[in-house]
Subunit: 344 residues, 2 copies
C-alpha cells in the first residue's frame, strides 16, 4: 500500500483522462436522434478538461451522422464538473450535450452522456480486500464507474463484508456517488470507506470530509491501492487561516456558475463585516482577484478551488467556515471540510 501524500491538489486528476487509452462511448447516435427530432441547426458539445483533447475527433464522428446544415460548437469554458455547465452556450444552441458528468437536477434541456469507464475493476477490488479491516465497509465511486457499482457491492459481499451504501443527497444522481464537493454518500455506519475510482481528486476530498474514517483508494485506472490522507490539506488550511487573521479587508466571492451559488452565505458575511466586499465571479482564478488588492478572500463557490488551488492565489483564500475561524467567530478546532449540498 503506497503512500497517498503525492496528491498535490490538481482539479484535473480525476481519472477522467486519455492516458490509459480507454474507449469511451460518446453515444453519438443519441445525439443525432435529438438533432433530427428537433430539426436542429446547431449542436453544442461540452467536454471535461481531461477529455477536451478528444473534442475534435468526437465532432468529426458526429458530423458524419448529421445533415449537412448542422453546425457543431465546442464549449471552451473551463469544465471540472456538472456545476460548470456552459449555460450561455446551452441557450445559444438547439441541442446541448454535456459529456462525462451526471446531472445535478432532473429535467432541463441538456443531454448528459455519462461516459462510463470500461476498465475492469475486479482485479483492483481483489487487491483492495487485503487492505480492509474488520467486516464492515462503506462503498463509494464516481460517475465514471457507476455502471459497475452493483458488481462492486456483490464482490465485497461475496468476500464476507457488510457493505454500507447510500445516495447522499439530491445533488448526487446515484447511490454511492461522490462529487469533488459532496461526500454525503460516505455518511454510513462504518469506520472505513472504500473508494473505487481513478485519480486523487475525489478521495482527497473524501478524506478531508471524513477525518475520523479510514479511507482506502482502489484505483483501477492507475492500478494502485493506497490510503487517502487529509493531513497535508489540513496543515495547508490551518496555514491559510493563520495568514488571514491579520486581514483588514476581505473580498467575499459569490460564484455565478449555476451549480456553485451560495450567495446567501456571501451576503451574510458582507452584511456583518464593514470591511468585507461582495465580488461576483464566474471562474475563480488568481488573475481575477489580483487587481483588487484586498488582504484576504472568502470563496463561497466551489470548495475545491479553495482547498486545491488556494495556495496559488496571492492572498489567503478561505472557505466560509475558515473565515469564521479567522475572525474569531468559531474555534480553530472546529475546522471542517467545506461541502456543497443541494441541487444548484
Amino acid at each position: 500500500m503506497s503512500d497517498s501524500e503525492g496528491w498535490d491538489g490538481d482539479l484535473r486528476d480525476t481519472g477522467l483522462a486519455l492516458k490509459h487509452d480507454r474507449e469511451w462511448d460518446y453515444e453519438l447516435d443519441r445525439v443525432a436522434d435529438a438533432v433530427a427530432e428537433r430539426d436542429a441547426d446547431t449542436v453544442a458539445l461540452q467536454f471535461p478538461e481531461g477529455l477536451k483533447r478528444r473534442a475534435a475527433g468526437v465532432a468529426d464522428d458526429l458530423d458524419e451522422l448529421l445533415p449537412e446544415k448542422v453546425r457543431i460548437y465546442i464549449s471552451g469554458e473551463a469544465n471540472f464538473g456538472a456545476c460548470d455547465l456552459d449555460t450561455d452556450l446551452m441557450r445559444r444552441s438547439d441541442v446541448f450535450v454535456h459529456f462525462g458528468h451526471s446531472p445535478m437536477v432532473e429535467g432541463g434541456d441538456v443531454i448528459y452522456v455519462p461516459l462510463f469507464s470500461n476498465v475492469d475493476v475486479e482485479p483492483i477490488l481483489e487487491e483492495a480486500v487485503g487492505h480492509l479491516e474488520g467486516d464492515e465497509v462503506g462503498l463509494v465511486t464516481t460517475a465514471q464507474h457507476m455502471n459497475k457499482f452493483e458488481m462492486m457491492q456483490s464482490f465485497l459481499e461475496d468476500r464476507g463484508f457488510t457493505v454500507h451504501t447510500r445516495r447522499g443527497d439530491e445533488r448526487l444522481t446515484h447511490e454511492g456517488q461522490v462529487l469533488g464537493c459532496n461526500y454525503a454518500s460516505a455518511e454510513v455506519p462504518a469506520d472505513q470507506v472504500l473508494y473505487v475510482g481513478g485519480g486523487g481528486f475525489h478521495p482527497s476530498g473524501l478524506a478531508m470530509d471524513n477525518p475520523e474514517k479510514r479511507v482506502v483508494i482502489a484505483d483501477p485506472v492507475n492500478n494502485v491501492v493506497k490510503p487517502a490522507s487529509a493531513e497535508k490539506f489540513i496543515k495547508q488550511r490551518y496555514a491559510a487561516i493563520h495568514s488571514a487573521m491579520d486581514a483588514e479587508t476581505w473580498g467575499v466571492i459569490a460564484g455565478t456558475k449555476i451549480g456553485q451559488r451560495r450567495h446567501g452565505i456571501a451576503e451574510t458575511i458582507v452584511a456583518e463585516n464593514d470591511d468585507a466586499y461582495l465580488i461576483t465571479l464566474d471562474e475563480i482564478t488568481p488573475d481575477h482577484l489580483r487587481n483588487f488588492g484586498l488582504d484576504a478572500y472568502v470563496n463561497t463557490a466551489c470548495p475545491r478551488i479553495t482547498t486545491d488551488d488556494g495556495p496559488q492565489f496571492d492572498q489567503p483564500l478561505l472557505t466560509p467556515q475558515e473565515y469564521r475561524i479567522a475572525v474569531g467567530e468559531e474555534p480553530m478546532d472546529a475546522l471542517e471540510f467545506d461541502t456543497f449540498e443541494g441541487t444548484w
Copy 2:
C-alpha cells in the same frame, strides 16, 4: 524623443491606473439618484483592471449615500474595455454601473461613468509641437481625455496646424476617440497623427493599424513624447503566421462577450475547412485552450488578445486575416492589423 520599443504588449498599460495618484470623479451622486429613482435593492459596480484597487473605497463611499437596505456587488470579471460588460451581473442587479469606458451603443440599462482625467495636457502638447512635421496633423485620444479634446484641437490650431479629426464609426462614442480595437478616427487626410493619452496600449494599435502614417505619442500621464512603432509587433505577427503554416488542426474561437462577437467570420472558416473546429469562449486565456491540443487557433474575438497576449499561448494564435495568409488564401504582404468595427 525616446524610443517606443519598450512596449511589450500589456493590455493593462492604458494609463487608466492609480500610480499617478489622480483623483477620479466617480459621480456617486448620480448613482445614488438612480438607486432612489428605481427604489433599487441592489447596485453593481464594474471597474477596469487598472482601477479595481479602488473598488472597495468606492463601495464604501457609495454605501454612505445609500439607504441601509441596498446591497453593493462588485464585478470580479476581467475588464479591459466597454466590450467586457458584465452582462450577467447587469441582469442580476437593479442598477449597474460601468466605470471608465464609454458606451458602445446608445441606450441600455447601464450607467456609464466616464472617469475623465484631470491631468493637464498643455505642457505635453507644448513639447509635442516640436516633434510634429509640416502643418497638417490628425488628432486622437482616449475616453479618459475626451473632456479636453476641443482644448487640444484649439491649442494645435493656435500653433498654426490644420487639425484633422473625425468620429471613426459607431463603435466609438466621441469624435477623435480610439479604442484598442478601433482606430477609424485616425483615418484622416494627414500623414501624421498625434495621440494624446497615457500608456502604450492604444498608440501601439494605432501604429499597427497605420503603418504608412507617422504616429507621435504625447503622454501626459507619464510625461513623455515619443514615436509609436509597430515594427516589433509586425515581426511577431509574421513569426506567428509562419509557425501556424504547418498546422493540421485549427481551433476557431467565437467570443461570447457582447462586444466581441464576429461569429459569422468564425463559422465561415469552419465551414470551409474540415480540420477547423468552432470553440465558443468568453475570456480567452492559454489555460482555456491548452487541453484541446489543436495545432493552431484563430481568434475572431478581441484582436488585442491575439496581438498582445498571443506569444503567451502554447500554440500560434492568429487573427482571421493571418489565418487566411497561413493557409495560402492571401499573400504574406497583405498583412493588416485586425480591427473591430460596428457597435456590438
